[in-house]
Amino acid sequence: MKFSYTLIKKLAPGLPKCAKVAEALNMYSFETKNLGGDLLEINLPANRWSDASSHLGIAREAAAIFKKELRSPVVSIINAPMDEGLVKVEVEKQKYCPRYAARFFEIKRVSQSPEWLRKILRACGINPVNNVVDVMNYVMLEVGQPLHAFDADKIYGKKTKKIVVRRAKKNERLKTLDGQSFVLNPDILVIADPKQALAIAGIKGGESSGVTGRTRRLIIEAANFDPVMIYKASRRLKLITDAAARFSHGMSPALVEWGLDRATALLKKSGAKLLDSVDFYTEKAGEEVIEFDPAKFRSVIGAPIAVGEARKIFKRLGLLVDKSEKAKLRVRIPAWRTDIEEPEDLIEEAARFLDFNALRPQAPVVGVKPTEEEDVIVLKEKVRRLLQSFQLDEVYSPSFLGETELGWCNQSFLGGMKVNPVEVENPIAEDKKYVRPSLLPLLIRGVELNSRFFDSVKIFEIGKVFSVVRGAIKERLALGIVLGAKKDTKLVLELKGLTEELLRGLGIDDYDFVETKGSMRVEVNHDILGVVGQEHLGKNWLVTAAEFDLERILKQTEEEKEYIPLKRFPAVIRDISILVSKNIRIGEILETIQRVSPKLTENVDLIDEYVNEKLGGKQSLTFRVIFQSDERTLTDAEVNKEMAKISGALKRSFRAEIR
């Protein structure tokens, strides 16, 4: 909100230069920018609009900081004509409109406002109109209370003009002062005469009753409306005015008479004559009394405050402190200071004027106990370290995706999961309307992006994924791994190996790979930890991807690692090459070899693999078998016997040709 230093200075003449005031406000009150040209931009906190969305409020803060006098511009009007019958007010429901006051004037001439006033309006971003409307706006800037002026002769009623505050009828129409037409509904409050709506309450006046050059009789309104109603109406109508912004934040009904008295004084200067006034105000906002306890201050802030010091600060802020010599202060909070509701609020007022920066830091005293870190956080860290050691790079992807990526999820090897996505009600863009059900679509896109710069890409991400399960949103912690490389058709085996090493690194040894339609499920005791599969990208790039559920992995990692004694006797290594049909699967051959003599066979591995058209429908495979015993050194003869058994088994089971 923009503020004119000129006007602030008028209300607190002792203040120093503009730049200094801006700096001090920024440090002690509100975020303030000095825009130059005696203009300040102040970011008011949402709870301070009642007392500070006005030059008076800002001047009060500044005067309190610099310990200068504040001069309120408001002079109470006494002996004003009251309830003479020229204007009457009827409020449909007090809750919507706790206060509605109006004054009836006669004016000889509607003309231009004096230049000093026009200048302040312009500085604060308001266009000057005429000497009536300008006073309404000026007084709002000065004391915060929004005001509205009606041309009384355009309001229905002969001698008595009756003003009604009611909910709009369904589809009731109104054209506002700026010529816009609105269709209203019963959630919107209007100011009306007995025949039609005259204004959208608290938001904007209507065209039909606006003040013009020919206006001779005026009704000036100062009212207070339910903040929620005004807030909702202003958002629904997309009509955010200075008045609507103030009422939405909640203003005190006490401001009404400041506004009216100040406006009356200014209108009188323009030759207007006050003829009547009314004030609907059934439940008066009272003063609150809140106790300020210096001992509590000391405890919360961590530094002492002298009672006398606190008293001075409160007084400068316009709070009333009862005279007493007790250790605690009884502070009366004026109605316009709506934000002060509890003792803590007073502590804040005292603390900020004592200056947060002067407060000496003090190390807290804590009972030493071991700090804790959730298991899943520790697991994430372990996974990251392992994958980093496998030379993978970590990426972070956005949490949002669109129809294309969702389609991928359902068609890819993840499809078995049948994702039911979580939808955003107010997406920021069409391609960001779902919360990601899987990390993989965006990771694969990441590989695609990086394929322009690198020959191979190995990335992973740890993050939350979301889906709807039985009507409720389920949030899971996932690990996604994607490897991509040009023309590496066996890349999926690298990912398989990597998965094994990852699981072993996490202390899981009894995993199984269960094959399902070209992809694999990774299981431990039938609990599915994740899936591994592959995809083709254009440009000869092959991509293989895996996604794991880290919470499930966590459940399997509870065991501690245990040392297994190193083998004392030497190992004997033998290779065997065979020619078998291409239809025979390597996994089965491995299993067969292992089964021959599980006691002596330490490990079996595929070390060479060759398929060529010359071989017909066959594949040439070389396996390396490592024999080792816990009890003795194996002899050549023993190993030869084992190898013969293996050859026999391979011939029998697969019609293998030993080469």
Binding site: I301, N357, N450, K464
Partner: protein
């Protein structure tokens, strides 16, 4: 050229020299009859006595140093090409390593520092209820205050037994669902299940409905802190955060500034600003108009003393407990620490970026 400059250039050139020939050229350049150091030594006699006394010994010592360096270099080159038969000047073989994301690095660093100050680490859900994200944090509904947190709402999928759409009820379990706009809901969730005294930090991904630019993303990371005890004070808060930032920006001179601010869940509320040292071209911030590097105040953290109403929502008696809470953006910290100009780089998946860390 003064002696310091001669020394620097001699050292640099020697370092770069890879052949015996090149080294010999340098010997002539610096120590030869017309060499640069020789020239200085010769000019001594024309200097006034006082200057001669100062420069003389320095020049002599530089001559000795350069001579020694040249001899060392000569023997190093000699042995390399003879003994093992490997040319040690050939480039090293490329070894690759995996890289962790800069936000992970920052997160780990922050956790390490806070754990060293006896804070525990917890995390919370990214899908939150309106109750935990707003109501229980004293952020009133239908009030412009909520506009400080532009929210992504989730389509309500929850259906009751009759399959009827149920809607926003203000009970903790049944209120509307959203993507958390801050990590603050964990204040309530943690307090509901733990008794004070305690001190925790909560890192995590958060979401705001706002236009994306170099400093705004719709998903980003926050870190929440909460310390509650019998007499935890604002002075304690200052001590903890200053200690944290000093360690985080390791060794740099750092200034702090505190301004009042409004967050409905704290009272008093404040904004912490830091200014990093002007010294050291590597660590300075943006240069000012005059080309001199100068620190600016950076808003880095919102904080305050936990509001009594927040304690009430968590079923604590506000008369018994007090504490501080703070929140800061991890992305912003990482951007300052690594001088990253655009927040969107973090979520780009671009390995040319990631592999710098």
């Amino acid at each position: 050229m003064n002696l310091k400059e001669i020394e620097d250039s001699a050292r640099n050139e020697l370092k770069a020299a890879v052949s015996r020939e090149a080294v010999e050229k340098l010997r002539v350049k610096y120590l030869g009859r017309k060499g640069e150091i020789t020239a200085v030594l010769r000019s001594l006699k024309d200097m006034p006595l006082e200057e001669r006394r100062r420069v003389g010994p320095e020049a002599q010592s530089l001559r000795r140093d350069v001579e020694r360096l040249i001899n060392e270099k000569v023997s190093a080159i000699g042995s390399a090409s003879s003994a093992s038969g490997v040319d040690l000047t050939a480039p090293g073989r490329k070894v690759s390593r995996g890289h962790l994301h800069p936000l992970t690095l920052v997160d780990e660093e922050i956790r390490r520092i806070f754990k060293s100050m006896n804070f525990s680490v917890v995390e919370g859900p990214e899908v939150e209820t309106e109750y935990y994200n707003f109501d229980a944090l004293n952020i009133p509904p239908n009030h412009p205050a909520r506009e400080m947190w532009d929210t992504f709402w989730l389509r309500q999928t929850r259906t009751d037994a009759d399959g009827v759409h149920t809607h926003t009820k203000k009970s903790p379990r049944q209120s509307a669902l959203l993507l958390r706009t801050h990590t603050s809901p964990m204040q309530i969730r943690y307090m509901e299940e733990h008794n004070p005294p305690f001190q925790i930090i909560v890192p995590g991904r958060t979401f705001r409905y706002e236009a994306t630019d170099a400093s705004h993303e719709i998903n980003f990371y926050q870190l929440e802190g909460l310390m509650v005890g019998k007499s935890v004070s604002l002075a304690n808060f200052k001590s903890v955060v200053q200690e944290f930032f000093k360690r985080f920006f390791g060794g740099q001179k750092i200034e702090f500034r505190y301004r009042p601010a409004y967050f409905p869940f704290v009272e008093p509320g404040l904004e912490v600003e830091i200014k990093l040292a002007t010294s050291g071209p590597e660590k300075g911030l943006r240069p000012n108009g005059a080309g001199k590097r100068q620190g600016t105040w950076l808003e880095i953290m919102g904080a305050g003393m936990v509001h009594p109403r927040v304690f009430e929502f968590a079923h604590y008696n506000p008369r018994d407990w007090q504490g501080f809470a703070f929140g800061m953006g991890l992305d912003r910290l990482a951007m300052i620490k690594y001088k990253i100009p655009d927040i969107r780089l973090f979520y780009s998946g671009d390995l040319r970026f990631i592999r710098q860390f």
